[in-house]
Amino acid sequence: MIELRNISKRFGAVQANDHVSIKVEPGTIHAIVGENGAGKSTAMRIAYGFYTADAGEILIDGQVRRIGSPQDAIALGIGMVHQHFMLVDTMTVADNIVLGAEPGSPLSLDLQEADIRIRALSAEFRLSVDPHARIEDLSVGQQQRVELLKALYRKARLLILDEPTAVLTPQEVEEFFGILRGMRKQGKTIVIITHKLAEVLALSDDVTVMRDGKVVGRVETKETSAAELARLMVGRDVLLHVHKPEAKPGAQVLGVRNLSVKTAAGAKPVDNVTFEVRAGEIVGVAGVEGNGQTELVEALAGLVDPLRVSGDVDLEGQSLSGMNPRRRRERGIAHIPEDRHRRGLLLEFALTENAILGVHYRRPITMLPGDAVLDDGEIRRRTVDIIKRFDVRPPNPDLPARALSGGNQQKLVIGREFELNPKLLLVSQPTRGVDIGAIEFIHDKLVKLRDGGCAVLLVSAELEEVMSLSDRLLILHKGRIAGEVNPQVATAAEVGLLMTRGH
């Protein structure tokens, strides 16, 4: 169907792709795996005409084709769902789907026609979504369906999916795979980039493994194993399961009583929640995306307007209510946000300046006179330290954060927050879009922090993650705590039900 031959592409100093050759058979599902920064997205963006390769050629159905722009790719029947969705949030589903391929005449956009065709497609591929909803009101899962419909609407024969499951809940993933298998039946070809080896094994026919911009292996799925793939990816053996000693919970650190959060619109994303987190334990919060996890964490971090928060929150017995984020940090709360681009990083700023965000205003970062002046030496020392201890690559403190791949950005944020050696760590989606090597590393760090006596509140859409990491697991449904389970004994199925049904 599609074949990349010796594709090379460099960004400044980075050789993102180095003679990459990938062959995808028609009517198959082809997985591409590799560490963060291995060059997976780059290769696929080239196939979609988003980037143009420095060297190499692309064949479609055996003929060499020039793909200079997405238009060309679309014309050749290629569709792509990007790692970061390519949707216009302020517009409706229908608008986004027809954009660029509008029905009706140039003088009038035929929205009824669009509606009909979209509904037809949703039915055919079991992708239910309301054409009139605004993107920004949709859950990521639904947004993903829109992306798929976009491609299908353009009659794509080849679908490229860049980490489509990173943001989906287990249920959504199952459903999603069903859809993909359905498509394969209808003769569509699918390329899927993912970090989750279980998914690769469950779904794909063939796998291409990339490392440092090169293709380091191509195997048939049925003839490989997670361990082998992991070794190919990272170049060493990887522990796929967290090694976690028994927790020794201490005194209560975080106490939350009847916490509710109201939105400006009047909704109640967090509704009368009560729980506690003790020193030396990891309390997990599982839940389908959009059931209040985000609001809960942001409220605890002081990022929600106090007027919209009710109930009391205390840290080691002292009330936090009404405190701004800075005061809470000073009290010993660290926070790893779910969206590192939106919250966690100043992408244009150097790593040094990102490494001090949140503590930039106090000793030892500042110095005399008047604690107003930044101590560059100290800042650099701190940054280099984080880079070393958290293995941030490339290890250059003067790079802008933007130049790091997702996984390394995440390591930087985690390192920064660990530096605070906090009493309480709020951590959301710590391994979203992060490769297995880094996941192993991050999980290990979280456990070590716990054993150091820190209280950890872990929110993750990765059921496997929360279940393996947490010592106690709360399930959030419609802003309420639908139940607490012991992850050691509970099964994914039970938890899944609580997450979706709420009882």
């Binding site: 980037y51 143009t52 997405p70 792509m80 390519m86 216009v88 517009m91 954009l99 660029g100």
Partner: protein, 296 residues
């Protein structure tokens, strides 16, 4: 009061709003496509001068209007090439164009009319006092339709909100932005032309005296939407028309005149108050001001 609130006030307000409506609609097309346009002032001046000069020499306001629009397109093209093709900072380019358009008419009027910055007066019968007004207020629903009911409008808005997404959907981002900016030039120039061959009968140096900026304000005021923007312009038109009539009529309790400077502040003060009190936050197109470029 009768001297302030009377029928002539309405017409005065309409006349005063017309150039603003045209310029603001122009600004809307550029900014909805993601290109800041603080060059409205300059584009209006281009239209005003060209329309006046051509009308005076040919004796036909229609040729004049056409030429004015052409001039607006030319200037807009400069703005487009610099800020889209060469990714210049849109605010800088805009400022440059404003300065340019204080100079160019001065220079040309010297060459054409032995004058430094103004044209001779145009005889009454060669003026178009009404057409631009009709055009302006007809343009509002049309712009609305184009923006919300045509493929082009959809693409324009997409490009201004999220060019990456538009690109991924196979839209030529640059092309759409060019069209948006060119449209803004045409509209703004029409607005300027109305000043010189509609409302008055000649061009004089910098005769827009800030209307381009008021139009920009109206555009933001109107949240980058055609109808709201028109109302914002009417708001400015009305307040100015009223203040014109207030001069020397409204007295202080002490019986003496309110200093004219205060009367002339009213529209601007009112804007600030209304904005703070009722309109509040208006969200610009997300990609506004961001040149779109991807590592190719």
């Amino acid at each position: 009061m009768g001297e302030i609130l009377n029928i002539s006030l309405i017409w005065s307000a309409v006349r005063l709003s017309t150039p603003l409506v045209l310029a603001a609609l122009g600004g809307m097309f550029a900014e909805r496509a993601g290109v800041i346009n603080i060059a409205l002032e300059g584009m209006m001046l281009a239209g005003a001068f060209t329309a006046a000069a051509v009308t005076y020499t040919t004796g036909s306001p229609w040729i004049g209007l056409t030429a004015g629009v052409a001039a607006g397109l030319a200037i807009a093209w400069v703005h487009a090439v610099a800020s889209i093709r060469y990714r210049a900072d849109q605010v800088v380019t805009g400022t440059a164009i404003n300065i340019l358009m204080i100079g160019v008419p001065g220079f040309l009027s010297g060459a054409l009319f032995l004058s430094s910055g103004s044209t001779p007066q145009i005889p009454k019968e060669h003026l178009v006092p009404w057409t631009p007004i009709v055009m302006a207020f007809a343009a509002v629903p049309i712009s609305w339709y184009v923006l919300y009911r045509t493929p082009f409008g959809l693409r324009l808005r997409a490009v201004g909100e999220n060019p990456e997404a538009a690109d991924a959907a196979g839209i030529r981002v640059a092309a759409v932005r060019y069209i948006g900016v060119l449209l803004s030039g045409a509209f703004a120039a029409l607005g300027g032309a109305y000043l010189s061959i509609g409302q008055s009968s000649l061009f004089t140096r910098n005769m827009t005296s800030g209307r381009g900026f008021i139009a920009l304000a109206a555009l933001i005021f109107g949240k980058w939407r055609p109808v709201q923007t028109m109302f914002a312009c009417l708001f400015f038109g009305f307040t100015e028309a009223i203040t014109i009539r207030m001069q020397g009529v409204v007295k202080l309790p002490s019986g003496e005149d309110i200093p004219v400077q205060f009367i002339q502040m009213v529209p601007y003060l009112l804007t600030i108050v209304v904005l703070a009190g009722f309109i509040g936050h208006s969200r610009p197109p997300r990609a506004l001001g961001r040149p779109y470029q991807k590592e190719r």
